[in-house]
């Protein structure tokens, strides 16, 4: 009866209650394997997350990457250095790690471009990037330790005392045991041990174990071994999960073209599958190929009309393409779908303002502020300062920018705009300091470089201006104003 109740609770998704019943049952009869497996499953599902989506790259992986094939890849063939083969939207602001903003936060957007060690180390690991210093799965390790600490009477299974070879031969226990070790205990080494022995028992015929082996290799950083396992699993059975994992392997190896090829092959078997299409959209996005990325996101939106990532990505694309009224429609759709958070209200407020629907602007931003957390506060105040600037209230804009800096003192965009305001007020020294601060924090932005170049040019410090304008052109080669300034400077230098 008790067991039936536990099973029922498990089916209803009430894993905590199920676990308590199982614990009581195990106290009575510690050798009952049914209850043991049930408790294992319940504990695993309690903290199960989609690990393909939740993956993130730590500093160790992005910095000490020894799989790089070429340090100077041809343009358009690398994610870390997309080059100028496609002109992205330079109007788009960048995140703190220097990537252009994307519609939603997703695995790869949080990683920095590891072009220089200095830049990677300088990128702060605050809430805005949320990147762990240590190697992969660090977040999951943290989750694992927390869940183990809260278990009264020590961990459920003592991994060091487990007779792995015994359980590897029992296939119906081995699989839940593996998932328990991998997802709940986060002990990849034991999981790998179990997977190796279990795949030997079934004579390398079970594709499921190959995938698990690949997962273990991937999180241990043995990317090439993972690739082999996934490929071999794909030969036995075509599944979307394995295709996605293989694509991730190629993204990690910085081979976007192979990744796209894999996606296309996958689409032959699973035509118009949303997950694979999303992956393609993301890869094109990080190659700065906005038009292709938009194309795929549109296909996704047709397949699945409530796909948050696709809608948000199309929205942000329209906004920075000077079509705020279209962006507004997409964000409004998200609101209809039930997304209710500070980020969305901030975006709605901005879209309303630039689409000249002034009546909603204030209420949107009020809601955004009331819902906001420490992560989004700086962004919201920064955006309000834009509205204040546009209606001509310079004092309010200054206050807002200062509030943004109070929430996040490495907010380069706010420093730059404060500098521009200071110039209007006639404080040249203060403005120069702000521009320098902005350029130091985020040298991937072109605005502060150009502004300090123009300021130096006005004052007559031509050499400084020349250096700064070259930095500006290196981050945004087609910036017209920078080119004009450079021409003027060159003309001066030839006179001399």
């Amino acid at each position: 009866m008790e067991l039936f109740k536990a099973l029922n609770l498990f089916n209803q998704g009430k894993y905590e209650d199920c676990t308590t019943i199982c614990t009581n049952l195990l106290k009575k009869n510690p050798l009952d394997q049914t209850v043991w497996v049930l408790k294992m499953r319940a504990l695993t599902l309690q903290i199960y997350v989609d690990d393909i989506e939740g993956e993130e790259e730590g500093i160790a992986e992005s910095l000490l990457d020894n799989y790089t094939i070429s340090s100077m890849p041809r343009p358009g063939t690398s994610l870390k250095n997309p080059g100028t083969s496609f002109t992205g939207q330079y109007l788009r602001p960048k995140t703190q790690s220097g990537r252009p903003l994307t519609g939603v936060v997703r695995p790869a957007t949080q990683s920095a471009m590891s072009q220089s060690i200095e830049q990677t180390l300088k990128t702060p690991r605050t809430a805005m990037t949320a990147r762990p210093i240590t190697a992969s799965s660090s977040r999951s390790v943290r989750l694992g330790t927390a869940s183990m600490l809260t278990e009264p009477g020590g961990p459920f299974i003592q991994l060091s005392r487990l007779n792995i070879s015994k359980y590897a031969s029992q296939s119906c226990i081995a699989k839940p045991l593996f998932e328990y070790i991998y997802y709940h205990e986060h002990d990849v080494r034991y999981a790998l041990d179990l997977a190796v022995q279990a795949t030997q028992v079934c004579q390398y015929k079970d594709w499921w174990w190959k995938v698990q082996l690949g997962k273990c290799y991937y999180s241990l950083g043995l990317i090439r071994d993972a690739e082999q396992q996934f490929k071999s699993a794909l030969k036995d059975s075509k599944t979307i999960e394995v295709i996605l994992r293989l694509v991730r392997v190629y993204v990690r190896l910085d081979q976007p073209l192979t990744a796209l090829e894999t996606c296309k092959k996958g689409l032959e078997y699973f035509s118009n599958d949303v997950n694979i299409l999303t992956e393609m959209g993301r890869i094109f996005d990080s190659l700065n190929n906005m038009s292709m990325s938009l194309k795929y996101y549109k296909i996704i939106a047709q397949e699945d009309a409530s796909h948050t990532e696709a809608i948000a990505s199309i929205g942000i694309q329209h906004f920075y393409n000077d079509q705020p009224e279209l962006a507004l429609r997409y964000y409004r759709r998200l609101l209809q779908m039930g997304v209710y958070n500070a980020e969305l209200f901030n975006n709605l407020g901005l879209c309303c303002f630039y689409a000249q629907q002034y009546d909603h602007v204030i209420s949107c931003f009020e809601r955004a502020i009331s819902l906001s957390t420490d992560e989004t506060m700086a962004d919201i105040w920064y955006n309000i300062s834009h509205i204040a600037l546009t209606i001509g209230d310079i004092t309010m804009a200054e206050e807002c920018l200062k509030l943004a800096i109070v929430s996040d003192n490495r907010y380069a965009l706010a420093y730059n705009n404060l500098g521009v305001i200071q110039i209007r007020n006639g404080n040249i020294t203060a403005a120069r300091t702000y521009f320098h601060a902005a350029a130091n924090i985020a040298n991937f932005l072109y605005e502060p470089h150009f502004n300090s170049a123009y300021l130096a040019y006005k004052v007559g410090d031509l050499q400084t201006s020349y250096i700064a304008v070259q930095k500006s052109l290196s981050t945004y080669p087609n910036h017209a104003d920078s080119k004009t300034l450079l021409n003027k400077l060159e003309r001066y230098f030839t006179y001399m």
């Binding site: 602001p93 989750l143 901030n346 834009h386 500098g419």
Partner: protein, 72 residues
Amino acid sequence: MSQLMDNSAEKIDVILPRQILLYQEENLDYILCKPKLIPLKSVTLEKLEKMQKDAELKMREAVEYSNENNNE
């Protein structure tokens, strides 16, 4: 923005006034950083953060509980 310009294939006739002089002048000016839309959070990320918060809360409770027991 750049895409829009590329697509505009239509040509507009140039109108030149006959009598007065026409000036065209472009002035450089300081530029502002653009407004920033905030990326939304995916369902997985929200779940992860929620789990992390819950875990922290549970740990704190456990620590407080053990502290109370030790004091008694």
